[in-house]
């Protein structure tokens, strides 16, 4: 009984000692040593694709209600998040804008929190769904002058994008990216951008 008690005490002291030692030797985040993690666009994937189509409200669907519906374009953006610090950091906010051929089509917000271990690289996958109906209205209300300069129109532009996506020939740009990192009450924001598509 006494022997068991001694083993327990000893084990507890070792656990506590190890814990305290780890705490003592782990570098403490400071304003000076907190480096902004590096965010890099790794790849863009088309996880779901139904082609190019648009239905007007006059078209009666087989089931459900008629409406103005456009093909969804689902894109998964995979980013590498490299933590150069000697302590783990928490990513608490991730946002970027998606542009096709230099025209903004979507701004994506990924609020999920994740920890990146010291000196390691995590990956994050962010889904961005742009449907042709929303993109149509956005281009109609804001893109008129730009499309006129390009000598195209909104329908032709949308069709080009949706068809180019399937063989990965669409010029996709990530811009105005912002990732928020936290460590021990300190905060650092990383800006990022990237391109994926034909050279």
């Amino acid at each position: 009984m006494r022997k068991r008690s001694l083993i327990l005490k000893g084990f507890s002291v070792v656990v506590l000692g190890t814990f305290l030692l780890a705490c003592a030797t782990m570098p403490t985040p400071t304003e000076k040593n907190f480096q902004a993690p590096v965010v890099t666009l790794n790849s863009v994937e088309l996880p779901y694709y139904t082609g190019w189509w648009y239905y007007d409200v006059k078209v009666q669907p087989t089931k459900g209600n008629a409406g103005k519906y456009g093909a969804p374009l689902a894109l998964a953006f995979v980013f590498d998040i490299q933590n150069p610090n000697e302590y783990p950091v928490m990513m608490d906010g991730f946002k970027f804008t998606v542009a096709f051929d230099g025209i903004d089509v979507n701004t994506v917000n990924s609020p999920e929190v994740q920890w990146i271990p010291a000196g390691k690289t995590n990956q994050v996958r962010v889904m961005a769904i742009t449907d042709a109906r929303a993109a149509l209205l956005s281009l109609l209300v804001t893109g008129g002058f730009k499309l006129k300069e390009r000598e195209t129109n909104v329908w032709a532009q949308l069709e080009d994008w949706w068809l180019a996506a399937k063989d990965y020939s669409l010029a996709i740009e990530v811009k105005e990216g912002s990732a928020i990192f936290k460590a021990d009450g300190l905060m650092n924001v990383t800006g990022f951008s990237g391109k994926f598509g034909p050279e």
Binding site: L16, F19, T107, P111, A134, A135, L137, V141, G144, E176
Partner: protein, 415 residues
């Protein structure tokens, strides 16, 4: 045995607590959930994106400044692509997430959700400034920091009448002529029509035929030719920036000899970029200062924009960021007052929060905010700006409440 018990009683719980406290970054933090419904992909995304960035940045500022009496705000911010059915779905999610208030967006979602937020008693602070949402007898839970479209329209036409008309060559010889250009079918565009025509009649204008200009228009020559027959001295634009710019450009190139006043969502930093020379002298109701203008509180707005969105150049930021801050700041104040009263229910946020504000100054060039249980028009004073010599400048603050006190109190609410 006693010795072992002592070890277990003291050491093990201490170790467990130490590890838990050490590892949990959020231990003990009380939070208040707030939802934000934004358009970052749809028909209004050109301005909706800037507004959404402003909402998030302002909320960081709120939390950095102590939150709601020490409680942090957790912001759930979603894009709904200006699709009203999706707005309804997201609203249900906000309820599930126990959001105490919602920062909404446009006329579509605001009007669709108005009966529901009234029934559920959830404050809905949006960027739709329709005068129809200012009567608490009908829409008690719809709120916004800005003067409404109808008040803005009345102020803009009054400012032109005060400042420009006396300098006109025909001043004193005839009535000034006035017409409206907007998309008839758009609830946003047509919301203040009745009010501005009423104001035109009060001021003694001759009112000409309206011109139907699509929000998608980049060619408005036929409408301009129609206007040339009436020869307006003043044209009010109710659309958003691109189609307003198209109308200004066509008016300029076809020699329409008229001045222009523009509603809030057509009057921003992009207007002179798109309209060029045709934007010179255009006046509008801005409801607050433009991005970067030298007014109280702007230093924080600019600093937080730079800090949280370093990839967005300052020259691309718009007045929409300031409008977002305005809505966040009044919600913050309402939450603090309700929390102080010990009740963060929607009804308390309205009654102990918003409706206790009297001339609450949010800075940012906006009019001080007052809400009462019978009137949700925040102010009778409207800042009217003008684009001149490459910058926006304040023309005057028109005080409708002071100038027409009876009409303000008894006639003009809710339309």
């Amino acid at each position: 045995m006693n010795s072992r018990n002592l070890w277990f009683k003291l050491f093990v719980p201490l170790l467990a607590v130490g590890i838990l406290v050490g590892l949990s970054a959020t231990a003990g933090a009380a939070t208040i959930n707030v939802g934000a419904l934004n358009d970052m992909t749809g028909a209004t995304s050109d301005v909706g994106k800037d507004y959404a960035l402003g909402i998030a940045e302002a909320m960081h500022y709120v939390n950095d400044s102590g939150g709601v009496n020490g409680k942090k705000i957790k912001l759930y911010q979603f894009d709904y692509g200006y699709r009203v059915p999706e707005a309804l779905t997201k609203y249900n999610l906000f309820k599930r997430l126990k959001c105490v208030a919602i920062l909404g967006w446009g006329t579509g979602d605001t009007e669709a959700l108005s009966p529901t937020v009234t029934k559920d008693k959830i404050p809905y602070v949006s960027a739709s400034y329709s005068g129809h949402l200012t009567d608490p007898n009908k829409t008690p839970y719809n709120l916004f920091f800005a003067t409404d479209y109808s008040t803005n329209a009345r102020a803009a036409i009054t400012a032109w009448f005060d400042k420009r008309w006396p300098k006109h060559k025909d001043y004193g010889k005839r009535k000034p002529r006035f017409a409206c250009s907007y998309m008839f079918a758009s609830p946003y565009c047509s919301a203040p029509i009745k009010a501005i025509k009423d104001q035109a009649a009060i001021l003694g204008f001759e009112i000409g035929p309206d011109q139907d200009v699509s929000l998608f228009a980049i060619d408005t020559k036929s409408q301009i030719l129609g206007l040339k027959e009436f020869k307006p001295d003043l044209l009010w634009h109710g659309n958003t920036t691109m189609s307003v710019a198209a109308t200004l450009r066509d008016g300029y190139s076809l020699g329409l000899d008229a001045d222009h006043i523009v509603n809030n969502w057509g009057f921003d930093e992009n207007l002179p970029r798109l309209a060029g020379k045709a934007a010179e002298g255009v006046m509008g109701a801005a409801v607050c200062a433009f991005f970067g203008e030298d007014v109280p509180g702007m230093d924080k707005v600019v600093a937080y924009a730079k800090k949280y969105n370093p990839g967005v150049p300052a020259e691309k930021r718009l007045i929409r960021t300031i409008q977002a801050w305005g809505d966040v700041l009044i919600l913050w104040e309402a939450l603090k007052r309700a929390d102080k009263a010990g009740d963060l229910s929607g009804e308390s946020i309205l009654k102990n929060g918003f409706e206790t504000m009297r001339n609450f100054d949010i800075g940012l060039g906006a009019s001080p905010v007052t809400f009462t249980s019978t009137d949700h028009r925040v102010a009778g004073q409207v800042p009217i700006y003008e684009w001149k010599n490459g910058k926006f400048g304040l023309v005057e603050r028109v005080d409708l409440k002071d100038r027409w006190p009876d009409k303000w109190a008894n006639e003009w609410i809710g339309w």
